[in-house]
């Protein structure tokens, strides 16, 4: 500890250079925090998706509808504990940019099937069931649009009503919250029955089926059984685990994970060169000083640790600044993008990974000068000039 003052003083010798190095490391880890958080948000659905839930869609694509009658047939299969349906609504609130997920669902089953992820107070569930035009909304939406129970929310939908209007009005009867961290609370749910009876065309169709299996180990068999059931019918199905479904959904945007890894890889490689070169240069300039220290009786190992400490301090300082800034930005953005990119947040896992990388960077960039410091020979170092 008594050496720390000296190490600190050495870092302040070239203030501009030290600041620039810290700044570049900070930017690198800011980028790391932002990209990793974004990529995690895209994959977020897959992370928390239940192992015991299956999603059945039309074999061609999720846009093709399935007959509503499939629900009863699926429910009758052995191995299925419960099944329910959902539709795509695709509306917006007031302005086109206010897009979020809206699903016509079956109020009796939806919260039961997703009870591990989201929760709705029972009293609100009851009043929602009683109101034909009632809707429940997630906490993220409420935070964004400052809605409250009882508010009338008009949505401009893709589907015209029988009366020709594309404006659908709903009354908020409940607000649901996440039970698990990262669970999506950015959807608006309303009654399938009301939606189905009021729309101009497409009556009696659903978007997809959500199936809860009795035993997660039987998931593959149940999925195969569902698809076999509708084989050779006019609407063949494709059933996958919710995890695979979420993954393939995220893949629509390209392989974000791979892209981030590639970008971050390039950033770190550059960082290694930049910081490593700076550390090496700063060491070279001080060779006679290290020789004097050894002359005074500082051991080879002490000198090595001093050099290593310098690079660790620079990397850890810059890195933590960058990670904190990323956390700050992501936390702010999470509120802003709650509806478009639910589950956006910088997790402790990303933070921890960042810290490990920071320390690794410190060790790698400090290694070469530290070893030179260890080996530095007093006589040749002082003779050099």
């Amino acid at each position: 500890m008594k050496y720390f003052y000296f190490i600190f003083k050495n870092l302040t010798r070239k203030k501009v250079r030290t600041s620039l190095t810290i700044l570049s490391i900070m930017v690198a880890f800011l980028l790391f925090g932002l990209l990793r958080s974004l990529s995690a948000a895209f994959d977020g659905g897959a992370e928390i998706a239940g192992e015991d839930r299956l999603v059945t869609i039309h074999k061609v694509s999720i846009i093709q509808p399935l007959p509503q009658s499939y629900l009863a047939k699926v429910q009758a299969l052995t191995g299925v504990e419960k099944a329910t349906t959902a539709n795509w609504f695709g509306g917006y609130y007031q302005e086109k940019k206010n897009q979020f997920a809206q699903f016509p669902v079956l109020a009796d089953d939806y919260f039961d099937i997703y009870k591990d992820l989201i929760k709705l107070p029972p009293a609100q569930l009851e009043s929602w069931k009683k109101n034909r035009v009632g809707a429940v909304v997630g906490r993220a939406l409420v935070d964004k649009y400052h809605w409250k129970i009882g508010d009338r929310i008009p949505l401009i939908g893709m589907f015209p009503q029988k009366n020709g209007s594309t404006t659908w009005e709903f009354v908020i009867e409940g607000i649901y919250d996440a039970k698990t961290q990262g669970a999506d609370t950015s959807a608006m749910l309303f009654h399938y029955d009301y939606f189905d009876k009021s729309r101009q065309f497409g009556e009696g169709t659903i978007g997809w089926l959500i199936i809860k299996v009795k035993d997660p180990k039987q998931s593959a068999q149940v999925a195969a059984a569902v698809d076999a059931l509708f084989e050779n019918s006019f609407a063949e199905t494709k059933t996958n685990s919710e995890k695979d479904f979420a993954k393939s959904f995220a893949k629509q945007f390209g392989d974000i994970g791979l892209i981030t890894t590639l970008i971050l890889g390039a950033v770190f490689f550059t960082m290694l060169l930049v910081a490593g070169n700076t550390m090496a240069q700063s060491f070279r300039e001080r060779i006679p000083e290290f020789a004097i220290l050894k002359t005074l009786g500082f051991s080879d190992v002490t000198v090595m640790l001093m050099v290593l400490c310098e690079s660790l301090v620079v990397c850890v300082f810059g890195g933590i600044l960058g990670l904190m800034l990323a956390k700050f930005i992501i936390t702010g953005a999470a509120v802003e993008f709650a509806a478009t990119l639910p589950g956006l947040g910088m997790s402790w896992k990303i933070m921890g990974m960042g810290l490990v990388l920071v320390i690794l960077l410190g060790f790698i960039t400090g290694a070469a000068p530290a070893i030179q410091g260890l080996r530095l020979n007093i006589i040749s170092a002082l003779r050099r000039n």
Binding site: K2, Y3, Y5, F6, K9, N10, T12, R13, P288, E289, A291, I292, L293, K294, T295, L296, G297, F298, S299, D300, I378, I379, L382, N385
Partner: protein, 247 residues
């Protein structure tokens, strides 16, 4: 031909009261040789050096450039090991020491003053002087007291907070001397300590060293090119082509 040199009294008058004790040998070199390997060739730098230095002595080491003065001083200071011979300092065979033993030994037994690079530019005078004490078990308070005493001894008590860039060349060397003294070593080793100073400043530094020798009984070995600097010492050794020669 004899390689052993008898220490002569230098021309300078030395006060009788401070006469060195006749048989208190601090440094003893017996048949010391040093060769460097240059490629496949062995380059002899020092051959068969035999000399004893008494505790409390002030020895000037002179000789032409390349004669091996620095090499000999480095051996005395445990910065390097001799290729052959016996080197005893304060009763210890330091030629037998490993490099890590030498490192520890240096911290307790020798103080160095070089011509250049002595001070850490990022540390103030007092922090520079404190450096050797960081290797001891002294508390921060004790360290401060030692540093203050050492700076006082070299007449720089009022410059404690100054950085090397704010000091003159002579003051820098005084700080270096304070640092060499602060852990109270057996031996002060100086390699051309005044080589970079003007005449008047050099004389001040030499007077300070003489004072340290006479009043604090410090044993000093000083490499110098300058006969006037050597005049401040009690004895002078001459090296030529790696051998000690008698005057």
């Amino acid at each position: 031909m004899s390689n052993s040199a008898t220490l002569e009294k230098s021309a300078k008058e030395v006060p009788a009261s401070n006469e060195v004790l006749a048989n208190d040998v601090l440094v003893s070199l017996t048949n010391i040789s040093k060769t460097y390997k240059k490629g496949k060739e062995l380059v002899p730098v020092l051959t068969d050096i035999n000399v004893k230095i008494q505790r409390g002595d002030f020895v000037a080491l002179m000789g032409p450039s390349g004669s091996g003065k620095t090499t000999l001083l480095n051996l005395l200071g445990g910065l390097d090991n001799p290729s052959a011979g016996e080197l005893i300092i304060a009763g210890q065979r330091i030629d037998k020491f490993s490099s890590s033993q030498l490192t520890k030994w240096r911290a307790q037994n020798v103080g160095f003053i070089f011509q250049f690079y002595n001070l850490m530019p990022v540390l103030s005078a007092e922090k520079n002087v404190e450096l050797p004490l960081l290797l001891t078990n002294l508390t921060s308070k004790e360290r401060k007291a030692h540093v203050a005493a050492a700076l006082d001894l070299v007449g720089l008590a009022d410059r404690a907070k100054h950085y090397p860039s704010e000091l003159s060349g002579g003051q820098e060397q005084r700080v270096a001397i304070a640092r060499a003294l602060v852990s109270d070593p057996n031996l002060l080793l100086c390699d051309e300590p005044t080589g970079d100073l003007d005449r008047a400043t050099a004389d001040e530094i030499l007077a300070l060293m003489q004072e340290l020798n006479q009043e604090q009984q410090k044993t000093i070995v000083m490499v110098t090119h300058d006969p006037r600097a050597a005049d401040h010492a009690r004895h002078t050794l001459h090296l030529d082509k790696g051998k000690l020669i008698q005057e």
